[in-house]
């Protein structure tokens, strides 16, 4: 596996502040150069994406979005639909990380072109495991699209 030499941009869309903190601390444990941006709602995340540029100035377009489904307001499902219909954003992989284990949510998410669906595990150890797998997979195993295109 080859570690990316670039700093990786991650956008975490999560309304639960406790979960934000847990996921943040789990990502921090990974030995990767990363830049994490946290949005508390789908609306906030969209605002972040709108202001993001493909250049290196200001906020950079994220390489990966980690998305919660059940959020007040627009919610994860609508947000996902929005991303995947946008010419500028649709190549960004979106991984769903949610409390839901519902088969319907799983089906819907993949239909809306989510890159993966993960139910938040109950234990901290398991959560660390899951975050570690996500990071390894997307930033070491996979090749992600170039930001300039």
């Amino acid at each position: 596996m080859v570690a990316s030499t670039e700093t990786l941009n991650i956008l975490l869309v999560e309304d639960d502040t406790a979960d934000q903190k847990l996921i943040k601390s789990m990502i921090a444990k990974q030995e990767l150069a990363y830049d994490l941006c946290v949005a508390c709602s789908a609306e906030e995340a969209l605002a972040v994406l709108r202001s993001s540029k493909s250049s290196n100035r200001g906020l950079t377009r994220p390489d990966l979005i980690i998305l919660d489904l059940n959020m007040p307001g627009m919610g994860g499902r609508e947000f996902l639909k929005h991303i995947k219909t946008s010419e500028r954003l649709k190549q960004i992989p979106v991984v769903i990380l949610t409390c839901s284990a519902s088969e319907l949510d799983v089906q819907d998410s993949y239909k809306l072109q989510a890159a993966g669906f993960i139910t938040k595990p109950a234990g901290l150890v398991e959560l660390e495991q899951v975050i570690s797998e996500i990071m390894k997979y997307w930033f070491m195993v996979c090749r992600l699209p170039c930001k300039e295109y």
């Binding site: 847990l22 601390s25 409390c99 109950a122 234990g123 901290l124 150890v125």
Partner: protein, 526 residues
């Protein structure tokens, strides 16, 4: 036309023919010798008997008279016809004959004969006076009408029979004029509607129906008097005391020459039946209502458990996760007492976590139920042996024995898998120290097209006092430190068996092992 009507007209026709013959015969007697053959034919082959009576005794008889009376010609000649007549009829016959001879009129009359073998026969005799050397004589013919009389009698008795049948029928029978005036009702009708035979006489059908049904009955009458067919009636008659009587039946009309003469109706009193039906329907409705309420509250309860378990999981996840974070970061900063406190907290959270998971699994038995299909229990046990229970079998050095192939059952495959997994896992878990668990599974057919399966082990057994309790949700009989688990396994088993319409029970002797038995629907190959 009745049977006797028919016979009468036949006899009248025959008499006509005979009279024609008589005229011919008289001509013959008058001396037309050329017709001797005709005379012989008449005399010997007619169905009627011919004879001549002179001075009160038979002078000449045809073979038919011998046939009818049973006397030979020899016995008849010289005998008085009156001696053959039933005494009661003798007087009338004598008077007739006197009139015949005095007034020289044709006589046709009926009377009874007594035959030689003492049988009574009805006859009709037609006699004409003749002159025979100045003596008083007549020529007569006679026909046996016993059969005809018998038919008349039987007509009379069958009319009586029909009247009796109508009058005593348990159904209500009525006749009305085409306009609805009641002309006949039978006993059952009068008893039900409460009118006497006299009161019926001036009663109209329209006086014994609810006012609102007037148009209906007008239509019924109109229908039956305009068509020669029955009209089914399901309506109400009002009794003399004002009770509404539900009747069902039919009405039709008798037509003569295409004109309606009277209507005939036959009804059944269905008041009680309708009442019972209504009662039953309302009872059924009530049961359905209760059932649907029960079903609804059951569903609501399942949903509640499901939602509660889901929603409870979230905050709990935070407790255990942050607890774990704290444990990590405070690793070297806590004293033993503080560490123990934190351990208690995280242990409690973990335990609650598994209870919620179990509760979810419990509620899924109904929420995630799948359709029934044939299930091979041997295959299920084989899978458990190699997958879910393989490490437990290895750890305990346990074995599962199936002395005879298990019979196929019909159910939800994943639930039956879960059922056997829980039971075998229990047997592996609650084994006696130093004695490897041996689990024997058997099956046999039982009443009601079911299969009874027993799972027997050589484990620690369960005190009979607790046999009922073991199937209760989260009921544990042992310390959590001794045997792990939330105590949901058997509750899940019970729910699965119940969903399959079966029963589950326990037979156990402490220190001698446990037998859990349950029944499942049999898979019927046909």
């Amino acid at each position: 036309m009745t049977k006797s009507d028919e016979s009468t007209s036949r006899v009248v026709a025959e008499i006509g023919t005979i009279r024609e013959h008589l005229v011919e015969l008289e001509q013959l007697v008058a001396g037309d010798r050329s017709q001797e053959q005709l005379q012989a034919d008449l005399f010997y082959h007619s169905t009627a008997a011919f004879y001549v009576v002179e001075d009160g005794v038979f002078k000449s008889t045809s073979p038919q008279l011998q046939e009818i009376t049973g006397y030979s010609e020899h016995e008849l000649i010289g005998r008085s016809p009156l001696s053959l007549i039933v005494p009661e009829d003798g007087h009338k016959v004598r008077e007739g004959v006197i009139k015949l001879l005095d007034k020289r009129q044709l006589l046709v009359h009926q009377y009874r004969l007594i035959t030689k073998d003492a049988k009574t026969k009805w006859v009709i005799e037609s006699a004409s006076p003749i002159f025979d050397n100045g003596k008083q004589a007549f020529i007569a013919n006679l026909i046996d009408i016993t059969e005809l009389k018998r038919a008349e009698e039987s007509d009379k008795s069958s009319e009586e029979k029909y009247r009796d049948l109508c009058e005593n029928a348990s159904y209500m029978i009525q006749c009305t004029t085409p306009s609805g005036l009641i002309t006949y009702t039978n006993r059952a009708w009068r008893k039900t509607i409460g009118y006497s035979e006299n009161e019926i006489k001036n009663l109209s059908l329209f006086e014994i129906i609810p006012y609102d049904d007037k148009d209906y009955w007008l239509e019924v009458l109109h229908q039956v008097i305009s068509k020669e067919r029955s009209y089914n009636v399901d309506s109400i008659l009002v009794s003399s005391s004002g009770d509404r009587i539900n009747v069902q039946g039919s009405i039709n009309c008798r037509f003569v020459d295409g004109k309606p003469v009277y209507t005939r109706g036959i009804f059944r009193n269905v008041t009680k039946l309708k009442q019972e039906l209504a009662n039953r329907e309302s009872a059924l409705e009530h049961i359905n209502e209760i059932e649907s309420k029960l079903e609804q509250s059951k569903r609501e309860f399942e949903e509640l458990i499901h939602i509660a378990s889901h929603d409870l999981r979230e905050p709990l996840r935070k407790i255990s996760s942050f607890g774990a974070l704290l444990q990590e970061s405070l690793e070297d900063k806590l004293d033993d007492d503080q560490r123990e406190n934190l351990d208690f907290m995280t242990d409690g959270a973990e335990r609650l976590q598994s209870m919620i998971n179990d509760l979810l699994a419990y509620s899924r038995i109904t929420t995630k139920a799948k359709p029934f299909q044939p299930v091979d229990l041997n295959q299920v046990v084989e899978n458990l042996r190699h997958f879910e229970l393989s490490s437990a079998l290895e750890e305990t050095k346990g074995e599962i024995l199936i002395p005879n192939p298990l019979l196929a059952v019909y159910g939800d495959p994943s639930q039956i898998h879960q059922l056997l997994q829980n039971l075998i896992a229990n047997s592996l878990k609650f084994h006696r120290d130093d004695i490897p668990p041996r689990i024997s599974i058997n099956s046999h057919r039982t009443r009601g097209n079911k299969i009874r399966i027993t799972v027997q082990d050589n484990g620690i057994g369960i005190d009979p006092r607790y046999h009922e309790q073991v199937f209760v949700l989260f009921k544990r009989l042992h310390l959590a430190t001794r045997y792990q688990g939330t105590g949901i396994g058997l509750a899940i088993c019970k729910k699965i068996v119940q969903r399959h319409g079966g029963e589950i029970g326990i037979e156990s002797i402490p220190k001698d092992g446990t037998v859990i038995w349950f029944t499942l629907p049999r898979f019927n190959h046909s």
